[in-house]
Amino acid sequence: MKTKQEIIPLDFEKPLIALSKQISELEEKTLKNGDSKIVGDLKNQYEKVKGQIYKNLSPIERIKIARHPQRPYPLDYIQAISQTWYELHGDRTGKDDGAIVGGLIEIDGQTVMVIGTQKGRDIKENQKRNFGMPSPEGYRKALRFFYHAEKFNFPIVTFIDTPGAYPGLEAEAHNQSHAIAMNLRELAGLTVPVIAVVTGEGGSGGALALSVANRVLMLENSVYSVISAEGCAAILWRTKDKASEAASALKITAQDLYELGVIDEIIPEVEGGAHYDHKQACENVLNSIKNHLRELKELSPEELKTDRQEKFRRMGAFSSI
């Protein structure tokens, strides 16, 4: 994603494409005719439509942005926010899961262990990255990085963009459940700062396994959910066509989750989504991480651990007679 690419439009953006095309055509004509009033009107209309579309994005539209193939992926953020980047590899027991990346970067002169799920940009890379769906070995690779960070007192920053943990034969045979459960438990016990950033799709347990953090941040158009909208619709509405309804009911947007008290901050994106401006997205993410790191630096190791445990201890809604 280094060269400037043309942005692939999403379906709900089509009115804008049409308008934009109309404007271009008219502008060409008006250069000859000298009449620019209509162009001006169209441009105003464009801005109005744009505002309507982007200010009122529905949850299912957010999902589409979150899954946009040109959206910045964890490795894009990692490489943009630090000059230093030493990727580390492997679970030490038989696999280097490409769906999980991790290594060392520097933020504010401090060494940081960074871990992310990673999708591929093309078929070949997706073979390696398994479309961002980690295997148990990937979670164990991440666990190894957690322990490394704990040993050397490195803060941990995770980037999450995954449809979920891989549901496969080998993944079950190698105990996907245990791999995820161990990460939940061990993240809860760390004495270093942990910050999780949901950058795209936060897919259920597969996302949570990297997100038991002191601070959980979400990009404005990212989503985070217990089940995919399609999966939920198929089960509860008995048809995948109701994904939009399910997306709304599940409360999966950054705004929803912020209001539910599950996340700590919404990181803004440019209008239309982070894929329109990678640089701005990376800058916003870096600034947010820096702020949280500075705040967490004030806590002692024991306080960091307690803070994280108490944060998740409070999660839930119930009544008690």
Partner: protein, 317 residues
Amino acid sequence: MGLKDFFKNRQLKKAAKLAANGNGHDLKVEPPVCDDQLCILWTKCQGCNELLYTSELKKNYSVCKHCEYHHRLTAQERIDLLADYGSFLEIDENILPGDPLNFKDLKPYTVRLKDAQKTSNSKEAIITGIGTINNQPLAIGAMEFQYIGGSMGSVVGEKIVRLTERAIEKRMPLVLVSSSGGARMHEGILSLMQMAKTASTLKKLHEEKLLYISLLTEPTFGGVTASFAMLGDILIAEPQARIGFAGRRVIEETIKQKLPKDFQTAEYLLENGQIDLVIPRQNLKNIISELIRLHFKSTKLKDEVMPFSQIPLFARI
């Protein structure tokens, strides 16, 4: 319509009804065949289809004497199976579900909750409490699959956490019996957070060096397996119980191939190094009790905690 057809028909109707309740996974719902006067006397075995005297079946721990199929137990039956008679004292029974998302699919969540309470005769998908097992104290929780597929929402998470905290406070062993389709999606992200919440509290228990035995029963899937259920010091499953992360259908759709028949059974998990023991139901109590005895002897020696016999168990609940 013969008796068998009659049962089958009932079963299908019931299955359809339960499926509408929805649990997060693609488990075949196996309704209890007996739920009214007509079939109180007889129960059809879900393993071999034999008709069994219900009273005999119950006496045999709901295990079929022909094929040893372990029929699902209610949470209360599970407690009765493991805790000494009369020793169990339920805690936190008045933690009740809310509807934080105002969730509504084909039916509002609040209605589903009421239905579930009625169907399962249980206030939520888990019962927790304190009791003894062969005269040794324990903190025990058992899930109720009849309650929305044993799904884990905020109440299940909170009750497990409170039970765990109590185990820490009283330095008791913890036994959790899982039976669940996974997270309760009607509570959205909050149900997902119960995974982190329970695992996080179990980290404390772990650091306190207290024993946690996890008993996995038919079926245990999704966010329950991938959190507290897999974090036991010792993992025990009942024979033939299906246990996994993703459901069979999801996996088959993903990998586009048929899975082996024994995939995700207790025996498969044992073979694949995922659990310690597969124990027939009739031996469970004694083996769990023995494991507790073996572990608590030594913990005492090291940490010099008060011997269990001296803890005024029910006095301070």
